[in-house]
Amino acid sequence: MSDALLDIRGLTAGYGDVPVLTDIALTVGAGEIVALVGSNGAGKTTLLRAVSRIIKASGSLRFLGEDVLPLTPEALFARGLVQVPEGRQLFGRMTVAENLMMGAYRRRDRAGIDASLAQTFDLFPVLAERRAQTAGSLSGGEQQMCAIGRALMAAPKLLMIDEMSLGLAPIVVDRLLDVLVAIRGQGVPILMVEQDVFAALAVADRGYVLEHGRIVKAATAETLKSDPALQKAYLGSDS
């Protein structure tokens, strides 16, 4: 029906028997940056877990035209659905270079891996400078760059980033947002999950607002940015 890369309809998911998410509809198309925003505990991370098939879900979930609801997380990862997890989850005592190579763990195409590495260092020159340093010794912003770089090394067809801005100075967030635009420019669409609503909407094409496990608004980023209710609810985040 739709040619969206990721197509979620009527999705319900949760932990155990209590549903956290109800009747979710969300799409990400080719070349798009889509923002999923909402306050603490709204269910944003839960949605990413459901999409990655880590937790039980029912409804319709299609990725690249395929029904992926019955698949395992490994199978989805193999199809190019790659996540930058909340809290970065780096391998702290391994070097930056080793962390990046772990992103390419499942790949065997030497030339392709080298190309991804060059592309990653191109987007984040600081990672090239610090390639021999342990990931745990990086600054917060550099760690987030390393986490995004590691995901790029997996050759994603869709990149899902959870709470990229958490704990980072606004200037660092701006720099990372520029990189997201560059990544999208290289043909990788992005689903970004953010509490920092206006940071996310600054680069997104479209956005969804999640509240108590339901999508309460879906619109273009322009529309959402000027939405009075949203401005009131998330006041003070950005301009």
């Binding site: 080793e98 590691r150 997996a154």
Partner: protein, 284 residues
């Protein structure tokens, strides 16, 4: 001069101690399992090579065979049984490996009898002199192989794709899984490598000492102590830890008598737990 001789003996034996601890430390660090059957694995390796020796095979030829057999043994145990409880409470894995230790020791006694066995190729008893110091060839070979295996393990962990995956799994299981690592397989391979190292240690132990079904009783705790001293993530430091224990035992044996050597490891263990409890608990 006697002291120099004692130190040489201690260092050479200590290398082998380090090799014994290597497998235990690897498994402990990556799987968070303290394998109480580790000494029994060493014992099995020793018997295997002993019987191959009586069939005419030089122990240095049998060593890789023992490693391969023990690797398979460890891999299968982990894959079939231990993976079911690997991330559960420490007590479960302790109970399981304790049970395994009891069973293996009992079977060895049943099948191999409680007789002392020694693997003694011609070079096992040979010596040469450097000045006034006598160097036992058997121990020297054991030391060299122990150091070489530690180096190989270091290179495997630091320089290969498999090694990266093993370390990544140890450091952040969720993230490793997120990027396509299959932990059940990594755990089984790691446990297999730990058992293979025990097999190598058993081979060399049989050359420098005597094998009985009960050697695990002292070798397991000795490996445990050395793993704590050396830390869990650097094979070369663990061999250094083995040398510390080897020298401490040799010196104790000289000044207090050989009956006190086993007291050394446990004395050191208690001392470490008292002086640096936070550090050792973090490891555990």
């Amino acid at each position: 001069m006697l002291l120099v001789q004692i130190l040489v003996n201690g260092v050479l034996l200590g290398g082998l101690y380090g090799l014994m601890a290597l497998g235990m430390a690897l498994v402990w660090g990556v799987l968070n399992i303290v394998n109480l059957a580790h000494g029994a694995f060493i014992m099995l390796g020793g018997y295997l090579v002993f019987f191959l020796f009586t069939a005419g095979l030089d122990p240095l030829v049998s060593l890789p065979i023992a490693m391969a057999v023990l690797f398979l043994f460890g891999y299968v145990i982990q894959r079939s049984l231990l993976n079911l409880i690997v991330r559960s409470a420490l007590l479960n894995t302790l109970l399981f490996t304790f049970g395994l230790d009891v069973v293996l020791t009992y079977l060895a006694q049943l099948l191999f009898s409680a007789d002392f066995r020694t693997i003694n190729p011609s070079y096992a008893g040979a010596n040469f002199s450097v000045g006034a110091v006598t160097v036992p060839v058997g121990r020297l070979i054991a030391f060299a192989i122990a150091v070489a295996l530690a180096l190989l393990l270091y290179l495997l962990l630091e320089r290969t794709r498999l090694g990266r995956a093993i370390r990544a799994t140890a450091q952040n299981l969720d993230a490793a899984r997120l990027y396509g690592v299959n932990p059940a397989q990594i755990y089984a391979i790691t446990f297999g490598i730990g058992a293979a190292l025990a097999g190598a240690a058993g081979t060399l132990y049989g050359i420098v000492a005597q094998i009985t079904p009960y050697i695990g009783v002292t070798l397991t705790p000795k490996s445990f102590v050395i793993a704590i001293i050396g830390g869990l993530d650097n094979p070369l430091r663990i061999v250094a830890g083995g040398i510390v224990i080897g020298v401490a035992e040799a010196v104790t044996s000289l000044y207090l008598g050989p009956t006190y050597t086993d007291v050394v490891s446990f004395g050191l263990l208690v001392l470490i737990l008292v002086l640096r409890p936070a550090q050792s608990l973090k490891i555990a």
